[in-house]
C-alpha cells in the first residue's frame, strides 16, 4: 500500500515537472506580452473586440477587467495594471501627482430613454433644464405644461414620472450629472455632479443593464443609458435640445459632431468633458472614455506593447467600434493623441 502511494506521488511529481518545462518552452517561444488593464464598463465591449483582433494579428494578449471607472483609476495609480480606463477624466494636477498620462480612446453617448405607451423612439423632445427638473423631482407628471409645450403634437398621459438612475458609481452617471449641472444651476447647487450623487428621487438600477431593465419593466419611466444599450434593446430614446437650440437625435453622426466641435486643442492632458458641446448637430450628452497610463512605466516593454495596441485601435479599430455602436475618434483628434503619447509616455 505504502509503495503504491509512493509510486503514485513520484509519478505525479514527474508529470508536473514535465508540464512546467514544456509550458516554459512554449511561452518562451511566443514571447507575447500580456497587457493588463482595468476600468470602465462602458468601453469593455469594444476593448474586448479590439483585443481579440489584435491578438490574432500580433500575438499580444490584452486582459481587461471591467470593474468600473473608479476601480480602474485606483488600479493604475497602484501600478497593478498597465492601463486604466475611465469615463471621468482626471484633472492635470491629479495626473501630475500620480505620474499618469491620459488620452481619449472612444466616444459614445448617454441617451435618455422613456417607456410611455404610444411614444416611439425619437418622438419625445426634452430640453436640458426640463431633464434636470424631472430628475430633481420638480416635474412629476408626463403631461406637465413644461413638457407638453416642447411636444405640441404628442398626447402625453397624466401619469407620474418614474425616474430611474444608477445605483452604482459610474462614469455614465458622472457625464449625465455633469451635463445636468451645466444646464441647471438648481441641479449644480443641489445634487451636483459625480459618479454617485444623492439622487432626489427615483429608483437605482445596477449598471447600464439595470437601468435599461427597469425602464423596460416600469411603465411611464425615464432613465439614461449608453447608446449601445438603446440600440441593442430597441428602447425609445428622446430627442434632446443642444446648446444651439436644435433637437438632436442620438446617433454616430451627432456624437461625432459633438466631438469635432469640442475644443481638444486647448485641453491639457485632454481634460475635457464633452457634454453640452457647441455645434448645430451636436448631441448634448456625449462622453469619452479615457485611457490612463504611467508616464515613466516600470516595465517599459509592457507599456510599449499597450501603446502599440492603442495606436492600432485608434488607427485601424474603427470598423469594430462602429459595429458595436461606438464612435471612433475623429482623424485630427487621433493625430493629436498620437503626438501626445509620443511626447509624454517614455
Amino acid at each position: 500500500m505504502k509503495l503504491f502511494f509512493a509510486a503514485a506521488g513520484a509519478a505525479l511529481l514527474l508529470a508536473a515537472c514535465h508540464n512546467n518545462n514544456s509550458q516554459n518552452a512554449a511561452s518562451g517561444q511566443s514571447a507575447a506580452a500580456q497587457i493588463t488593464g482595468a476600468g470602465s464598463t462602458f468601453v469593455y465591449p469594444v476593448l474586448s473586440a479590439w483585443s481579440a483582433d489584435f491578438a490574432r494579428q500580433s500575438g499580444a494578449q490584452v486582459n481587461y477587467q471591467s470593474i468600473g471607472s473608479g476601480g480602474g483609476i485606483s488600479q493604475i495609480k497602484a501600478g497593478t495594471v498597465d492601463f486604466g480606463a475611465s469615463d471621468q477624466p482626471l484633472d492635470p494636477k491629479e495626473l501630475a501627482d500620480a505620474g499618469l498620462a491620459q488620452f481619449p480612446i472612444v466616444i459614445g453617448g448617454v441617451v435618455p430613454v422613456v417607456n410611455i405607451t404610444g411614444i416611439d423612439a425619437g418622438k419625445l423632445r426634452l430640453a436640458g433644464p426640463v431633464l434636470a427638473d424631472i430628475y430633481a423631482g420638480k416635474i412629476t407628471s408626463w403631461n406637465d405644461p413644461v413638457i407638453t409645450r416642447l411636444n405640441p403634437g404628442l398626447s402625453l398621459p397624466g401619469a407620474k414620472i418614474a425616474v430611474v438612475h444608477r445605483s452604482d458609481g459610474s462614469g455614465t452617471s458622472f457625464n449625465f450629472t455633469h451635463y445636468l449641472s451645466q444646464v441647471s444651476s438648481a441641479w449644480k447647487s443641489g445634487p451636483g455632479e459625480g459618479k454617485t450623487v444623492a439622487w432626489p428621487t427615483g429608483v437605482g438600477g445596477k449598471g447600464n443593464e439595470g437601468v435599461a431593465g427597469y425602464v423596460q419593466q416600469i411603465p411611464n419611466s425615464i432613465g439614461y443609458v449608453e447608446y449601445a444599450y438603446v440600440l441593442q434593446n430597441h428602447m425609445a430614446y428622446t430627442l434632446l435640445q443642444n446648446s444651439a437650440g436644435n433637437f438632436v437625435a442620438p446617433s454616430a453622426a451627432s456624437f461625432q459632431a459633438a466631438a469635432a466641435s469640442a475644443d481638444w486643442k486647448n485641453a491639457r492632458d485632454f481634460f475635457l468633458v464633452m457634454t453640452n458641446a457647441p455645434g448645430a448637430n451636436a448631441f448634448p450628452i456625449t462622453a469619452t472614455t479615457f485611457i490612463l497610463m504611467h508616464r515613466q512605466p516600470k516595465d517599459k516593454s509592457r507599456s510599449d506593447a499597450a501603446l502599440n495596441f492603442f495606436r492600432w485601435a485608434l488607427e485601424k479599430g474603427q470598423p469594430q467600434a462602429k459595429k458595436l455602436d461606438y464612435v471612433p475618434l475623429p482623424a485630427d483628434l487621433v493625430s493629436q493623441v498620437e503626438s501626445y503619447i509620443g511626447a509624454t509616455i517614455k
Binding site: S74, D168, G169, G194, T196, V203, G210, G213, Y214
Partner: protein, 319 residues
Amino acid sequence: MISPPHSAPNNGAGGDRLFRLVTAGAAWLVLIILGAAAASMAWGGRLAFETFGWRFITGRDWDAVAGSFGALVPIYGTIVTSLLALLIAVPVSIGIALFLTDIAPRRLRAPVGMAIELLAAIPSIIYGMWGLFVFAPFMATHVEPWLNDKLGPLPFIGTFFSGPPIGIGLLTASVVLGIMIIPFISAVARDVFNAVPAPLKEAAVALGSTRWEILSQVTLPYTRSAIIGAVFLGLGRALGETMAVTFVLGNAHDLSASLLMPSNSIAAAIANEFTEADTDLYRSSLIALAFLLFVVTFIVLAAARLMLARIGRIHGRTH
C-alpha cells in the same frame, strides 16, 4: 515476556491529544476569524464614526458629492425587508413541515420535500432576476394598484400602502426574500417534527386532540428551540442577502413609511457602491455600514438566545 504497562496504549493517547488539539484549533480559528473580521470592519469604519459620531446611525443623507453619509435608510431597509420576509416565511414553512410530516400521503413526501430543498439550491441572483422580470410586473399590474385603491385611503394603515405602482420596492423585496428563506426553515422544521416521539402524539390523539391542537400543544413546544434556531437562520440569510434584494428593492436612499416605495439595504448599498467609492470617507462609510450589519446580526442572535433561555425557564427545557 510481559511488556511493561506504561508502553501499552501510548499511541492512542497521543493520537487523542492531537485530535483534541486539531478540533480545538479549528474552533478557535473560527472565533479568531470572526473577531478579526469584526475588528477590521470597525477599524475600516473608524473615519466615518469619527466624522459623524452617532449621527451616522441616525442620518438620512447619503451624499457622496457633499461627503455626508448616514446609515438610517440602509438599516431601515434591511430590517424591514428581513422582518417582513420572516412574517411571510415562518407560517408557510411550518405549514409545509406539518404537511410533509403529518398530512401528505407517504408517496408524496419525498418528491415534495425534494422540491422544497431545490428552492434552496437556486442561486440568489436567479431569484433577483425572476423577481425583476416576472414578479415585479405582476405586483405592478395586479397587486399594488389594488393595495393602493383599497388600503391607501384608510386612515392609519393607508400610509403603509400608498405609492406609485412601480412593482419594485419594500413589499416585493420582502416577498422574494421570504420565498428564499422558506427552504431553510422548513427543512429544519421537517426534521425536527419527525423527531417528536410518536407516543406523545399518539397520547394527544387518544385524548381527542385535533391536528391543530397536536401541532400547537405537543409538536411546537417540543421543537421550540430548534424552530427558533431555524427562524433565526433564515433571518440571518435575509439580513445579508445582496443580489436578490438589489434587483427588486430599488436602491433608492429614501426613507418612506410606505411598503410600496423603493428603499435600500446595507448589503445592496455596499455591493453597488464599493468599487467606485473614491474618497476615503466614502469607503470608510461603506465599511462602517458593514460593521453595523454585523452589529445588527449579533443583536438579533443575542435576542434569539435570550428568548430561548427565557422560554426554557418558564416552560421547561425539553432538550
